[in-house]
């Protein structure tokens, strides 16, 4: 059962270890990205181009998706369409059952998190192991990723050492990251060797060649998509790009924004299952195209740019709120600014609308976004939509703004209100509580600016007349 968002925030803020882990990690990632984009002019040009590539693709989704489907099928990749998470899960389960699969190994994929694939497969007695080191650590502790690029960023080395000792019974020297990675490597290679099915996400899918692009450092993505006899790739329909010529720009933006790397260890382009005569690679490749609200977003002029996202995580690395509460507090698949924008759109305001409050509209996320998504504007727009969709009920907030508007639309009334505040300025109000938990209340001035300007011009006139 999910606790309330505000409760989760209070808990996260009270956890000093968590706070330290996030602050350290976010400062580190921001600095690395800064170094990677030290040439401001180059960054601006690259960013502009990246934004244009993505916006063009979003506008041409029907055309590009048709082309992608056709080309994939030509290449021998089986294409499936899923309207929502439930359908996608069923498609994947169906493929797994056809192959009597018991063991699945998964590369890092936020889309599979979005549809909660692991839980679903587990219910059908299929063991689904995460192979990305961060995801593996998180899964071992029955948690969800707290960051879309670095899933275990909320934990430090000591905590992971303890976790391995407790859950795996393997102890490693304290502070020895190499030893921990060595443990993960041993366990996961065993799984790669014997898994029945490999599941991955897709960073970009090239329409005109039917090619799936996977960007990664660890090699687990390559292993998940090469070792098991069947590979299933799940992608949101917005991830399609027209051709390989646009890939270098997006790749540069993605890796530099995500981790400050000019390129990752591996860029893996998959265009077909194992061809006749070839000696390795999966014999079947399936591509599951997931809508889950995306098609509707693409038809909304004001919100469409949500889909331009390349999932680099820079917005969360730059968000002062995320930096303090971490990913789990959001209680959603995608945390941080992009999560605040995506989640209410795919799950509705009722379930996820609350996320929209946790933003001071400071604009750091929008400034960092490598494809120029105006995240603060999207958050603002979604706040408007949320309000409009619930406009019938008279909440306290609605009442406050109703009165506020009445006052501010009538200059005379407004001046009386400021006068009243000036008169009662010495009253020691301890309200609103949110404000006074860490601040004193500001005191109204004895005389408002309006009044002082009036007095000033009176004196001036007097002087002139004398």
């Amino acid at each position: 059962m999910k606790t309330k968002f505000s409760k989760r925030i209070e808990l996260a803020l009270a956890d000093s270890q968590l706070r330290m882990n996030f602050r350290g990690a976010m400062d580190f990632l921001r600095n690395k990205r800064q170094l990677a984009f030290n040439d401001v002019e180059e960054w601006q040009a690259l960013r502009k181009k990246g934004a244009a590539i993505r916006q063009d693709a979003i506008q041409r989704l029907p055309e590009l998706l048709t082309q992608l489907e056709h080309q994939c099928q030509q290449n021998g990749i089986q294409v499936h369409w899923a309207e929502d998470g439930n359908e996608a899960n069923k498609i994947i389960l169906n493929i797994a059952q056809q192959h009597n699969a018991k063991q699945v190994i998964k590369g890092k994929s936020m889309a599979t998190e979005e549809i909660e694939l692991n839980d679903f497969l587990e219910k059908h007695e299929i063991d689904c192991i995460e192979s990305d080191m961060g995801e593996y650590i998180v899964q071992l502790d029955n948690e969800k990723p707290s960051h879309i690029i670095m899933p275990a960023i909320h934990k430090n080395t000591a905590q992971i050492t303890d976790l391995f000792e407790k859950k795996l019974g393997i102890s490693t020297p304290s502070g020895d990251v190499d030893a921990l990675i060595g443990v993960g490597r041993r366990i996961l290679r065993e799984r790669f060797e014997h898994a029945d099915i490999g599941i991955s996400g897709v960073n970009f899918a090239i329409a005109d060649t039917g090619t799936l692009c996977l960007v990664e450092n660890e090699g687990n993505g390559r292993l998940s998509t090469t070792a098991p006899p069947v590979h299933i790739a799940l992608m949101g329909i917005e991830k399609v790009i027209p051709n390989i010529q646009v890939l270098p720009t997006l790749q540069r933006l993605l890796t530099r924004s995500a981790t400050g790397q000019h390129i990752t260890s591996y860029l893996n382009l998959i265009s077909s299952p194992r061809k006749k005569g070839e000696l390795d690679g999966p014999k079947e490749v399936h591509l599951v195209l997931l809508d889950n609200g995306r098609a509707n977003i693409s038809q909304d002029e004001k919100l469409q740019s949500t889909l331009a996202c390349i999932r680099c995580g820079a917005c969360m690395n730059h968000c002062p709120v995320y930096t303090r509460i971490g990913g789990h507090a959001y209680g959603s698949t995608y945390p941080g600014p992009i999560g605040q924008v995506v989640m209410p759109q795919i799950k509705g305001f009722k379930q996820e609308g609350e996320l929209l409050d946790a933003c001071s509209l400071n604009g750091a996320c929008g400034e960092a976004c490598p494809v120029e998504i105006d995240l603060p504007e999207l958050i603002r727009t979604l706040r408007h939509r949320k309000q409009e969709s619930s406009s019938t009920c008279w909440s306290k907030e609605v009442f406050i703004w109703f009165v506020w508007t009445k006052i501010h639309l009538h200059p005379w009334l407004y001046r009386q209100a400021t006068l009243l505040m000036a008169v009662f300025r010495t009253l020691n109000l301890n309200y609103p509580k949110g404000w006074t938990r860490t601040r004193t209340m500001p005191k109204a001035a004895k005389m408002s600016l309006h009044r002082q300007v009036r007095e000033r011009s009176k004196t001036k006139k007097k002087k002139e007349n004398e």
């Binding site: 290449n75 292993l223 646009v246 981790t259 382009l269 038809q299």
Partner: protein, 219 residues
Amino acid sequence: MSEARKAIFARLNQRKISTKKHDFQAPLATKHLNKTEAKKLLIEKLQENRAEVYSIPSTSLTDTLTTIATEKGYKTWLFGKNLSGAKTASKALESVSNEISVIQYDSDYETLREVLFHQVDVSVTSVKAAIAETGTLLLIPDKNEPRMMSLIPPVHIAILKQSDIVTSFQQVADNPPWQGKNMPTNILFISSPSKTADIQQTIAYGAHGPKELIVLIVN
């Protein structure tokens, strides 16, 4: 045609919004490096990413490999069929000591799986091209040099011809070394040994794949 597909396209085709033209094809300003500069940058970038790089004359490929074998103590070697000089090198390696053996990736993965995962120490592959700007090797695995060669063995030795170095990824994408839309099954861009920074942003090599990447640039 699936119901889901129909429904998704119906939503996509509502065309509620006006479309704008986005100029995404304008090329970015690029620097062009000459051969020497490109090679220098490539080596620099590869080394930054923890690859070992040696520049050698083509005549000394075999010697270099046997030296590596002796110095590093690699015993079980894996070769494919693409590399010219593979045969000579294999023979030379096996004659270094009777502890060294050479395996050919010539049967399917299912047959070779256990050997690949548990026996091979080092694998030697060719490289199609290299990108100086990022220190990246382009591999196009095929039946002669399968995908797993650069992935499962703990050490990957990549042999690059000096003449195959280009400046940027964009150059490769604009003039790809494959035939138009006839994409190879798999194309790989490799820039370092397998690595992760998932534990407290500390880089550790050999996360799942090769712990070491050795690049031999042959003149």
